[in-house]
Symmetry: C2
Subunit: 311 residues, 2 copies
């Protein structure tokens, strides 16, 4: 297995939001057509303004469409917020910041679902409308909502906790509801993969929901699987991961902590330069701060070369 | 019965889109609280982008909220069209011009209906959000779609004909589908009315759907009923009414033609200055071109005085 385009591995990337989307963007740049499938967390999905919203699917889709903001981890670059302003004016829910262009995604998705499309099919249509050609697969066509159980015993829907409550309530545990049924397309993509990449996404609330589905872990144990650390010098690049690790594990955040979390699945692990540790599998140091397209491509190439060297 | 505020008649206005909304606006200015209920056509309602859209309810509501454009017969003054531009960009339906602020109305209505509210209740919530205090009642809580049967035999949903096809296909006949069931609130309002006003709306596609409901015509025959002509000097102020009269009746448009259409219901009729004709009921001449608030108020006062003089 190597990263040569003429004989590229078939890669399946497991991704959540912005960190995952950025690595996927790098892989998208270096892998030929048909050599990359992205499986995306839908545990964050929720209904808002009566619309079905899939935050992680959208982040990955917008990133591959070249529409994602470089800094902000959600929505479309340069979007306006006129509908949201009207919601505020009328006293309707305005805590989830839906942009005007972004809103069309949720309208089209909701209409497709109401018309009987699976989430997989609705996602393919949305990608088509944005000229995204890579297959982006929701992990499941059934709702599998992530619930945050707080230290004070409240059960909060994930977006309520993350966005409305600004991830402030301490996390006691994370639960995955609904049927643990991945789609046939996800299982098929994983079965025919030469390499599974676990993207630098939150292991509890982004990758965890995917791994919680029936049949996923057994396939990953058989396949060459490489993860990229979402922790860099003891801190998460984005989002509430550092404090979640402290609250859930009672330990400070570290790349090694992430590797321990995935240890039964890993054949290799990629950490930021200076974060290496000794493990039962090879650990690669690379720049994992991948805000720019250039850095994403460098990491994707390094990752594929590393994976190719593992056998 | 008279227009004195201390002893105002209880008025029910039957209204369609912009012409009806403008007269309602005048009545709203001169009638005290609890003395005006507006019953609105829902035959134009349709589903677009997966949302329930009620064009006539919205026109009346926006007009009473002071949000309607003075010239244009739909939407909100100064609205932006960023979501629509995104629909165009993605190749989604963009023939119905939904503004960004307007869109919030359809989102909130659709969510309320999906949550089990009746259209009557959803409308009351929307009015509350825009601080419109007058009761605006949809004629029915059940779909009662207006269909245009064209001379070439096509059956077109009303908005398809009016907006998408720009009212170009010749009209053979107008049909009202779905159950002919008014709401209990509509029947109750009409039963307790001292005066029914048929607003200057299209008699075939705005007032016709209301009159097609079971029990409405018998009440109107018992109640003092006054109509305002939507035809002025042989032409419709707005919309496709002139050509519809020619196509449906084989006659040129005239105020008298409208009176003939309603003749079994009328106790009085208001026409534009110079349009009077002799009839079996009194005919009042007044300025019925009511684009400005001032003109609306003048017509409303004249109408109420006229109605008060009929007995």
């Amino acid at each position: 297995m190597n990263a040569d385009h003429s004989n590229a591995p078939r890669v399946v990337a497991l991704a959540g939001g912005v960190g995952g989307a950025r690595l996927v963007d790098g892989l998208d740049s270096v892998l030929p057509k048909d050599a990359l499938t992205i499986v995306v967390n839908t545990g964050d999905d929720f209904v808002h303004w009566g619309l079905h919203i899939s935050p992680d699917l959208d982040t990955v889709m917008y990133t591959l469409a070249g529409l994602a903001p470089e800094e902000r981890g959600w929505g479309i670059e340069g979007d306006t917020f006129h509908v949201l302003a009207e919601a505020e004016r009328r006293g309707a829910d305005a805590w989830f910041r839906l942009g005007d262009r972004d809103l069309m995604t949720h309208l089209l998705r909701s209409r497709a679902l109401a018309g009987g499309d699976s989430l997989t099919k609705a996602t393919a249509k949305l990608c088509g409308g944005l000229e995204v050609m890579r297959p982006i697969l929701p992990m499941s066509d059934s709702p599998r909502p992530t619930t945050i159980v707080t230290r004070s015993g409240d059960e909060m829907a994930f977006q309520d906790w993350l966005v409305r409550a600004r991830a402030a309530p301490e996390v006691q545990r994370v639960e995955h509801g609904g049927p643990d049924r991945p789609t046939g397309q996800v299982i098929e993509a994983l079965r025919s993969a030469d390499l599974v990449v676990i993207c630098p996404s939150n292991p509890y609330v982004s990758i965890g929901p995917i791994l919680s589905l029936e049949g996923i872990r057994p396939i990953l144990r058989e396949k060459p699987t490489v993860a990229v650390s979402p922790i860099l010098a003891g801190r998460a690049v984005k989002g509430p991961l550092s404090s979640m690790i402290a609250q859930l594990e009672g330990k400070p955040a570290s790349a090694e902590q992430i590797a321990t979390h995935y240890q039964d699945l890993l054949d290799g692990f990629v950490v930021h330069t200076g974060d290496a540790f000794s493990a039962t599998f090879p650990v690669l140091e690379s720049n994992i701060l991948i805000q720019t397209r250039e850095d994403r491509v460098v990491l994707a190439r390094a990752l594929l070369d590393f994976a190719g060297s593992l056998r």
